[in-house]
């Protein structure tokens, strides 16, 4: 009766896995997402983060930390939102037009948002074949294959959306500096790299006009008090970010080696998720599900299997055994 969560294909659906394969929710190891399994420590939260309406000082601190962490150009502005998803859903309201190029395969909420707003979405097409479009969206690095958005694909349209939800593992390739160009915006996700997806925090970086428009669309007090506090602390903590990048790189290499030993080839990914080529992705997913490990497959590919990183040693061992 209540379709309160998306019916579109997504990772993170442990409850759906329970319904399909059985077991209790707690039995499952969810490797179907690209969320860092070692989250930023929550620490102590002041009571007023929960009880008071989020005040300007808390938001200013978060925005200042974000500006510094992502080296946002002084000419660009930043908006914080309750998750990158909240920004993606409102992106069609940013600009007038009717056709958006969203080369696939990629994260499917971008196309869904534009279609829901009545746009035609061009998902396929080689360079130059997409025809007249007002908008281009690229996920950078892309989910699930990790490909990067070419510098030449940015700008020259009313709106270019660069979704850097997975880019904090490779900040050296970020296109944030391009947000000084007309119509270029970058999205950032807090939940994935910092491992706190339940917190709901994301950012839009772009021109002051685009940011003002998004702020109006989100309404006041868009971000919860705990997210303001934890987000600011985490973005100020560069040491945690550097250590985490190294750990994720090591763990991604470890997962690649493990999967190679079991006969899977690497198709792409980031150090937050790895996409492998296997002979029969659905069969591999089903085999892992017997061990209550949730892997991701894609409706458009029979051979791609995506895995997030295990956290503790028990989880690594469990995955290894399940792949035997």
């Amino acid at each position: 009766m209540d379709q309160t969560l998306p019916t579109r294909d997504h990772g993170g659906g442990v409850d759906a896995a329970v319904a399909r394969w059985g077991g209790a929710r707690e039995d499952w190891l969810d490797l179907s997402t690209g969320i860092n399994p070692v989250p930023y420590p929550l620490g102590h939260l002041p009571g007023r983060a929960w009880t008071a309406l989020p005040d300007r000082a808390a938001m200013d601190r978060l925005i200042g930390a974000a500006r510094s962490f992502w080296s946002v150009p002084p000419e660009a502005d930043i908006v914080a939102a309750p998750g990158a998803s909240a920004l993606i859903a409102r992106m069609p309201g940013q600009v007038a037009g009717r056709r958006a190029a969203i080369p696939g395969p990629t994260y499917n909420e971008h196309a869904a948002a534009f279609r829901a707003a009545g746009w035609e979405v061009v998902e396929e097409g080689e360079e130059g074949e997409e025809g007249e479009v007002e908008v281009r969206v690229g996920v950078h690095p892309n989910n699930p294959d990790g490909r990067l958005m070419a510098a030449g694909d940015i700008g020259g349209r009313a709106l270019t959306v660069i979704d850097e939800s997975f880019c904090d593992v490779c900040p050296e390739v970020s296109h944030v500096a391009r947000t000084t160009e007309p119509g270029v915006v970058v999205l950032k996700s807090f939940g994935k790299f910092w491992g706190l997806a339940g917190l709901r925090l994301g950012f839009l970086i772009g021109s002051p006009a685009k940011c003002a428009r998004m702020r109006e669309a989100l309404g006041p007090w868009a971000v919860a008090g705990p997210a303001l506090e934890i987000g600011a602390r985490a973005l100020e903590d560069r040491s945690w970010a550097e250590t985490t990048r190294k750990r994720l790189a090591r763990d991604a290499a470890r997962l690649d080696a493990m999967m190679a030993a079991r006969g899977a080839g690497l198709a792409g990914g980031t150090t937050l998720f790895r996409t492998y080529t296997v002979p029969d992705a659905a069969a591999w997913q089903a085999r892992l599900a017997e061990a209550r490990i949730l892997a991701r497959v894609f409706p458009y590919s029979a051979t791609w299997l995506r895995l997030g990183l295990p956290g503790g040693e028990d989880d690594w061992r469990r995955l290894w055994d399940a792949l035997a």
Copy 2:
């Protein structure tokens, strides 16, 4: 540089009070909002409320609890959002039209949202004088005067928005049963009655079609994991709600008596906030500010002073002394 919080007139601006009257943030007693000062207890939060993408089971539990708590008709649906503000900002996208009647004075975000979407807003006008409008918005009970939306003002338009953000202190007057009528929706706020405004949680109750449209506009995983968990617990806890209603009624009467003794008359309100008539509201606000107590005044009235309820005995004593 970053206008990350609303520039429109609102309560809850302790940082603005610090800038205007001095003191440290911690020095201030904020009585400028209508937030219950005795919040629902947070309790223990499971780690996955923070780390995992909010899953369907958590949302289903929250929605079930909301449906039961507010006696939502079976024909109506419910959407949870990160705060009633998030719903208010998206309300103009619910319907086609150009003129909205929003009788004032009332909470100013409704008119702001429709104006931002290009609508003409009719704020004044007696019954029948508003002309042709597609939308009517009423806050029920109204902020700041507590007046109720008449049953006859509901329905008969493309969209009737009944904002029941302050109605949980008087559930017997709720118009939720009217959401079975075409175009009638009710908004609910979690932060005020349960005293957890930083959590960001609100609800839209209306037809399945209206709710589906709103869900699409909000995007997936709109509500944070901690809000799903705490919101469900609180809405299942009828005993806390009943005790709280009685306490708020006692405390509102106590505040009225205190203010009457100091020469203020009651203009209206709910048991979450009281609006008083005083000879010079700005002067009263300034006098309270000397004691670092933040009261609310309104740009459209020289004589209305709004106060939320003090929490502990120290706060009551402090207010009494400041009014001397």
